[in-house]
């Protein structure tokens, strides 16, 4: 074996060792068992901004960043910068959501987006609907990362480790520390992974520019100009559309942030509104970091003008470019942070998905059958405490079992042949944004009714699926999901307006305390921090 194989393998082993130490040993030394689902899933809302911010960052910069997204820049040029606007706007969305969602989560001891929707609409079936949508839209994301993990390990070991075995190995590591430590392990591992990614990618960036372009970024553009001039501007005849693709992604990405289940898990992780707001700022500034992989993508295009061969597959451009340098340490570092990113996306998505399945589907079906009271239906702290602690340990055991099951299923699906990752991600975002009228309406518009929510969601989802089946993309390439969400919103507003008076008559007296908390400005002022909430 040559150094280009041995060194990356040793570096990956060191990384895995550190992950197992911080993900398993540290939580084990704490010796505190999770007594409720809320604690396992949100760490009882106790994390500082830096940890939450890093967790979000590592979810945004998934493993596909340096494969799929970079490959997209190699293939299509500057249009690959579409990730920048939506990451920045997602930071803003997170900031604004935090001040509404966190205090409600604290007061009513919520763990998921579906919990919040049950509280607002006082309807367990809406919770079920929100949970199932979240699961359906998260599974493709999970399976995408399964294959990226295997591919990264395969390339890092020069093909010695077959993709299915690499994926299985990585999946086993994730499941192991997730079952042991829940969200606390995720936050420790992901903070470490995010730091490794930020520092590692900067080192690789500087090395590549120095090696191929004598340390001068501007020479990249001269090289690209010689081989593929059209990539420096947005071309008119791009096969995927031009402004339509950009606009669709900016809208879907930003709105998706407002409905993405793992983002609510991350909001609830913060120890106060202030800390969660800060993590929104970290996310916005983190959006600027996209420039690193965009420039690296162009560097991969430009090396052809310098006499080097083009990558066999655009998605592996960076890995192959680093291989050309012959530096085993840089190659090892790249393999480590790419693996760290897939691990980071995978663990938080897997945890979020297991939580949705256990809390939003299994428990909710049980509660519907037993005709249990809705979240917040009985006011007072004691009622909320009773709800989360009555079957706390069983809930934790269930979510741990589900976690293993989903991990195995995702692994199986992940090994199937898939189209380019960016396009799969697009479908997922289009689907999840069908929850937007229901969620934002519920949070900010008093006249929202559950009838409006059902009608809007059904029409939006049917339209989205129908348009995809017939392959209709309006205005020359706008994503069908955007048109569907517009129709969804109109139906939601119309039906809510029609049904509001009756809804108000039936509910306002009984659930007045909930409406007060949702819509009376500073009603939850006392719940801005854990300490204030305790008082």
């Amino acid at each position: 074996m040559d150094l280009m194989v041995v060194v990356p393998i040793i570096m990956l082993c060191i990384y895995v060792g550190i992950v197992l130490f911080i993900g398993v040993v540290i939580p084990f030394l704490n010796r505190r068992k999770h007594s409720t689902f809320e604690e396992f899933y949100t760490g009882s809302k106790s994390m500082p901004a830096f940890v939450v911010g890093m967790l979000i960052l590592v979810t945004f910069y998934s493993g596909s960043t340096f494969t799929g997204k970079l490959g997209f820049v190699v293939k299509y040029g500057v249009v690959g910068a579409y990730t920048m606007p939506y990451t920045v706007m997602s930071g803003l969305a997170l900031y604004l959501l935090a001040e509404k969602v966190w205090p409600l989560g604290k007061k009513y001891r919520l763990s998921t987006l579906a919990d919040l929707m049950e509280l607002r609409y006082q309807d367990k079936k809406i919770k079920l609907l929100t949970g199932i949508t979240g699961i359906c839209m998260n599974i493709p994301w999970l399976t995408m990362e399964v294959i990226t993990m295997g591919m990264t390990l395969n390339i890092a070991t020069n093909g010695y480790l077959p993709i299915p075995i690499g994926s299985a190995l990585a999946m086993s590591i994730i499941i192991f520390y997730l079952v042991k430590g829940g969200v606390k392990s995720v936050s420790l591992v992901d903070t470490f992974s995010a730091i490794l990614m930020l520092i590692g990618s900067c080192i690789v960036f500087v090395y590549i520019i120095n090696y191929f372009y004598n340390g001068d970024v501007s020479t990249i553009w001269t090289a690209v100009d010689q081989v593929s001039k059209d990539k420096l501007i947005l071309p008119d005849n791009l096969e995927i559309g031009q402004w339509q693709f950009w606009l669709s992604w900016t809208i879907c990405g930003t709105l998706g942030m407002l409905a993405w289940p793992s983002n609510y898990m991350e909001i609830y992780l913060g120890k106060s509104v202030k800390e969660t707001r800060k993590s929104g700022i970290i996310t916005a500034f983190g959006g600027m970091f996209n420039l690193v992989y965009i420039i690296l993508g162009f560097a991969a295009v430009g090396i052809v003008a310098l006499g080097y061969p083009a990558a066999s597959d655009p998605q592996f451009s960076l890995l192959e470019m680093v291989k050309l340098t012959g530096n085993p340490f840089i190659f090892g570092l790249l393999a480590c942070f790419m693996f760290a990113l897939t691990l980071g996306t995978m663990d938080s998505t897997l945890l979020a998905l297991s939580g949705l399945f256990s809390n939003d589907v299994v428990t909710t079906i049980k509660r519907i059958k037993e005709n249990d009271e809705n979240i917040g239906e009985v006011p007072g702290e004691e009622a909320q405490l009773r709800r989360v602690t009555s079957s706390g340990k069983d809930d934790v055991k269930r979510v741990q079992k589900i976690l293993i099951g989903i991990g195995i299923i995702a692994y199986g699906i992940g090994l199937l042949e898939l189209p380019m990752m960016v396009f799969i991600a697009g479908y997922v975002y289009e689907g999840i944004i069908q929850l937007i009228p229901l969620v934002l309406g519920g949070l900010y518009w008093k006249k929202s009714t559950k009838q409006g929510a059902y009608a809007g969601f059904t029409s939006g989802m049917l339209l989205f699926i129908g348009m995809n089946i017939i392959g209709f993309k309006p205005f020359g390439g706008i994503f069908p999901g955007i048109v569907a969400v517009l129709v969804n919103t109109i139906v939601f507003v119309v039906v809510s307006s029609i049904t509001y008076e009756k809804y108000k008559e039936e509910n306002e007296k009984k659930y007045g305390h909930i409406y007060h908390d949702f819509y009376e400005g500073d009603a939850l002022k006392g719940h801005f921090t854990n300490e204030e909430a305790a008082e």
């Binding site: 920048m84 706007m89 930071g91 553009w221 947005l234 900016t250 707001r277 800060k278 916005a284 965009i294």
Partner: protein
Amino acid sequence: MKEKRSYRVIFYILFIICFMAMIPPIFNIANQEEVVLGLPMFLTWVFSWGLLASIVLLVMYFFDSNFEKKHATK
């Protein structure tokens, strides 16, 4: 009584401007081959507006913190 954060209107306007600058048709202004500040003009444009939006968010955070501090002492 509902807290009024009237200063936020200005921030929201700034966010809308940043957002509009980053999407079509306005971003076509920068869709040119020239290299500006060491990057293709389009990348410089998107990066600068994104950075500006992030800075505006940071400033809004300080305004919000001051506002909440004032209200807490009242």
